[in-house]
Amino acid sequence: MRLIKFLFCLCLLLYSCGKNNEPPIETESISNGALVLCEGLFQQNNAQLSFVSFNNNQIENNVFLNRNGRQLGDTGNDIKKYGNKIYIVVNVSSTIEVLDANTLSSIKQISMMNGNTAKQPRAIVFHGGLAFVSCFDGYVDVIDTTSLSINSRIQVGSNPDGLAIANNKLYVGNSGGLNSPLMDSTVSVIDLNTLQEIKKITVGMNPGTIQADPFGDIYVVTRGNYTSIPSRMKRLNSVSDSLEQTFDLDISGISSFNNDFLVTYYDFTSSQNNVGLFNTYTEELELDSFMPLEEVQTLYGLHYNPSNNKIYISDAMNYTNTGYLREYDAEGSYLQSFHVGLNPSKVLFYE
């Protein structure tokens, strides 16, 4: 019998090996830093927030969990601040988490379900006290930022993705990404006075990121089919709501950089990703290689912080290892890296 007892104890010992939880790390109040939304991975329920303090270069991971005692959910896709609140779009969990911008404590979790069907929210923008959320079920939801309730739904194209506002109109990239290989090719234009779709502009296969420039133009990335149809950047006129120009570069991302853009594109000559400086006034690529990317394994987001005049790159590594936030000065010289969560994508800067 002694042998049996010993064997049971051995079994229990193996079992107990699984208990090894790290205590949460508390930091001082949220200021002067970067709040990084880490998407996590599908079906892992591990989307999270990391906070990088620019005061002491310390990093706190799992900020949402630490402040609220629960997980953010599955696949965080967007984070933005409006007023004194932060809105986090969680795609697979189908929620909008509304947080107090100072304390990061939860104010409300808005469930984005349509009956039993998850709407799968993707991106968020704000205008006139309203939040507009693109949802993969083919709608843009309109949320009152005071009552935090959904006022209405505006039907657009298939699997809407990126959003941008210009000229009192909302531009919605209808990706159709879930219909591969028969993806959508349009951008919906919504009148922000009537909250009605007024036009669909055909721009090219699989529209994703959309960015407005200071001159009222809309730039949209059409990602193609990832094989025979390449990714391209298109320029739309927000007065005539028409396609004006196609840029013959394999551009995959656009980020604001003062009044210009930093664009990420694939250079087939060097077989490498590059970051270029795009002049929104001349509407030309001014510098085809703005900054070195030796430290970056997978460029997953590009962000400019006007407060400290620095550029940050979200590095997703191989998508299954935890990522980094890479810091560069405004001239594009590498400074340092911060180790954050899995698949860092969007960043919100605090002064």
Binding site: L3, I4, L7, F8, L10, C11, L12, L14, Y15, C17, G18, K19, N20, N21, L41, F42, Q43, Q44, N45, N46, N68, G69, R70, Q71, G73, D74, V92, S93, S94, T95, Q109, S111, M113, N116, T117, A118, Q120, F136, D137, G138, N159, G176, G177, L178, N179, S180, P181, L182, Y226, S252, Y300, M317, N318, Y319, T320, N321, T322, G341, L342, N343
Partner: protein, 654 residues
């Protein structure tokens, strides 16, 4: 996302015994074995008695009792369960039922959760030294294979035999199984059928940070039924068998438990039809087996809430295969034997999805080897196998053809009247990329290379005399394996664009300890204790600059094992079995955030057999699974059921 969902679904989307078991094996001619040191060891398998005492739901519950196995279970009756042996990965393991390989060229895996345990009379792992030279060649050249035998497909006791079983359990689980078999010295005739169903909506505690909530697993219903017929005929030194088996499945796919969004209505229906037959000739010097199997597997996957199309997803997959093979063993002298064989497997896949490839594959296997016993105590086995794979995609570009030669060498020694033995062997094998991995829209990669495996093994074993009241068996194995060019799905370009890539190299350094014992205190009272312990250090050695370099690979426990204790008094038996896994990681990066807790699951089962007149028996069983109501998951976000009960009544004639 569609691709991600489907990929998780399909890629996603892994001794023992008693004398009776061996006797059952020997009833079937094709399991004739060359090896005199290990194959006839009475502990090298789970026999009928052991299987019945464990009250397994399916083949996975049995295979997890074998050393060096790692079961990946996604939970629920009929839910996906795969086995990986010695850290090689599930696609390196072949399941052989009654001498016929269970094949699936679409995803390369067999769902063990859909192989009933009710009719299994014997199961063993052939991951160790290869000794079954009349098995399918495809199984012999694989990294590992598991063999099982069923009641209905093999000659049995003379005369008429009948089995009728009813089962009722938690979560509205029920099942029936019946089989009738007539065996004589010349003829085998059998027919069988079964039904299993379950609502599957089991409760679980969802832990979210510091919050716990009581939830119910939904969309987990399951229904399957199967029927089959087998005929056999012995003529001179020959045995012929011909059989048909059909299985149908209809099940909800509960998917991962997603926080704040726990609704899913994905479903899968499947029809699996098999026609199989073989001929075994056993002469004085030559044993010969020829075999064939035709398989048609139709699967329909639906998701009405999928956001890509107006009516969701509704895709059908049809995977057909034809296996033809011969295996020959010839004895030159008593101490020198050769074996050789060939097998052809033709398979195709037709998918209703837009733009999907139409792949066909011709897979040829050849094998030749010898076994030499010298000085009456040493054995040497040398073997070479070759494989040629021809790919033909009727709707696009084909993957490259492959040709490989793989060696296998083994050396055995015995000491002390067969009681103490050593075995050392090396095996080189590979597994082909599946149709999904090569051709699935966007995810598939035509440039994939086969995944290579190298296995170095040493084992010693000792068995005491079974004539004593207390007898035991001890086996200790050490192995060093390498998997090169491991095929994994990784995101490329962005998280929406996953692709199969040969990106990982894995080194597995492991060891097993097997202890089996039986203590016959009196004629009526006996105890048995079985212990398996496996230690598997399976680490990523792909890139020294990677953060996961030398990290334990995902879902591979370093420690795992079983402790089973049985007590039998006359016709009453009680067994407590325990299965434990140490912590694992959901991803290759060994950080706290990726930890999946270890678990210890206990099952208590009891049975009582009422022996009636004229070879009639009535057996009652009562089983409590997950006795201590542990909340656990084998795969992150796929919760397993808590404590549950099963009552079984079985009638057997002869």
């Amino acid at each position: 996302m569609k691709l991600v969902i489907i990929s998780c679904l399909w890629f996603g989307i892994h001794c023992f015994g008693q004398q009776g078991g061996i006797q059952e094996i020997n009833e079937v001619t094709y399991t004739y074995t060359l090896d005199t040191f290990n194959a006839k060891n009475v502990w090298e398998g789970l026999n009928t008695e052991k299987i019945e005492s464990l009250q397994a739901n399916d083949a996975a519950d049995l295979i997890q009792k074998l050393t060096s196995t790692n079961i990946r279970s996604y939970g629920g009756l009929g839910g996906l369960k795969t086995v990986s042996s010695r850290g090689l990965g599930a696609n390196h393991s072949i399941i052989v039922a009654d001498g016929f390989g269970i094949n699936n060229t679409q995803n390369g895996q067999v769902n063990l959760g859909q192989i009933h345990a009710d009719n299994i009379s014997y199961i063993r792992s052939d991951s160790d030294e290869k000794t079954q030279f009349l098995q399918p060649i495809s199984a012999q050249v694989s990294g590992s294979h598991f063999s099982l035998e069923t009641f209905e497909n093999n000659f049995g006791a003379d005369g008429f035999q009948f089995r009728l079983q009813g089962k009722q359990g938690s979560f509205n689980q029920m099942g029936t199984y019946s089989a009738a078999k007539f065996s004589s010295k010349k003829v085998l005739l059998s027919a069988h059928g079964s039904i299993r169903k379950s609502d599957g909506n089991y409760p679980f505690t969802l832990t979210n940070g510091s919050q716990n909530s009581e939830e119910t697993r939904t969309n987990n219903d399951y229904l399957d039924y199967s029927f089959g017929f087998t005929g056999g005929f012995k003529f001179g030194n020959s045995v012929f068998r011909l059989g048909y088996l059909q299985k149908e499945f209809d099940q909800g796919l509960p998917g991962a438990v997603i926080l704040y969004n726990n609704f899913t209505d994905e479903r899968m229906e499947r029809i699996d039809q098999n026609l199989f037959g073989d001929h075994v000739f056993k002469g004085k010097k030559t044993t010969f087996r020829s075999f064939f199997k035709m398989n048609k597997n139709q699967m329909r996957y639906t998701d009405p809430d999928y956001l890509g199309q107006d009516n969701g997803i509704d895709i059908t997959y049809q995977n057909e295969s034809l296996q033809l093979g011969v295996a020959v063993e010839h004895i030159f002298k008593n101490d020198l034997k050769i074996h050789f064989g060939a097998e052809e497997v033709l398979s195709n896949l037709i998918v209703s999805d837009i733009g999907f490839s139409k792949p066909n594959r011709m897979h040829h296997f050849g094998i030749v080897g010898l076994n030499y016993i010298f000085l009456k105590k040493y054995g040497l086995t040398l073997q070479l196998s070759e494989q040629f794979i021809e790919e033909n995609n009727k709707a696009g570009v084909s993957a490259e053809n492959q040709f490989k030669i793989n060696p296998y060498i083994a050396f055995s020694a015995k000491e002390g009247k067969h009681k103490f033995g050593h075995t050392i062997w090396y095996r080189n094998s590979f597994r082909m990329p599946t149709f999904n991995e090569l051709y699935y829209n966007n995810i598939g990669n035509l440039n994939l290379e086969p995944e290579q495996a190298h296995q170095f093994n040493y084992a010693w074993s000792f068995s005491s005399s079974n004539k004593r009241k207390f007898h035991f068996y001890l086996r200790n194995t050490f192995y060093l394996n390498f998997v090169d060019e491991k095929i994994v799905a990784i995101p490329t370009k962005n998280l929406f664009t996953w692709s199969m890539q040969n990106v990982e190299n894995v080194r597995i350094l492991g060891g097993d300890l097997k202890f089996g014992s039986k203590f016959n205190t009196t004629k009526d009272l006996s105890f048995s204790l079985d212990l398996n312990y496996s230690n598997q250090n399976a680490i990523d050695i792909s890139d020294p600059n990677s953060p996961t370099f030398k990290n334990q690979i995902a879902y591979m426990p370093v420690h795992s094992g079983n402790i089973d204790l049985s007590i039998r008094y006359k016709d009453l038996g009680i067994t407590i079995s325990n299965y434990a896994n140490s912590l694992r990681y959901a991803l290759n990066e060994n950080i706290t955030a990726n930890q999946v807790d270890g678990f210890l699951i206990s099952t208590l089962s009891s049975h009582y057999t009422l022996k009636l007149r004229n070879k009639n028996k009535l057996t009652f069983r009562f089983t409590v699974k997950n006795l201590f109501d542990s909340q656990y998951a084998v795969i992150r976000s796929f919760v397993m059921p808590g404590r549950n009960y099963i009552i079984v009544m079985k009638y057997a004639f002869n």
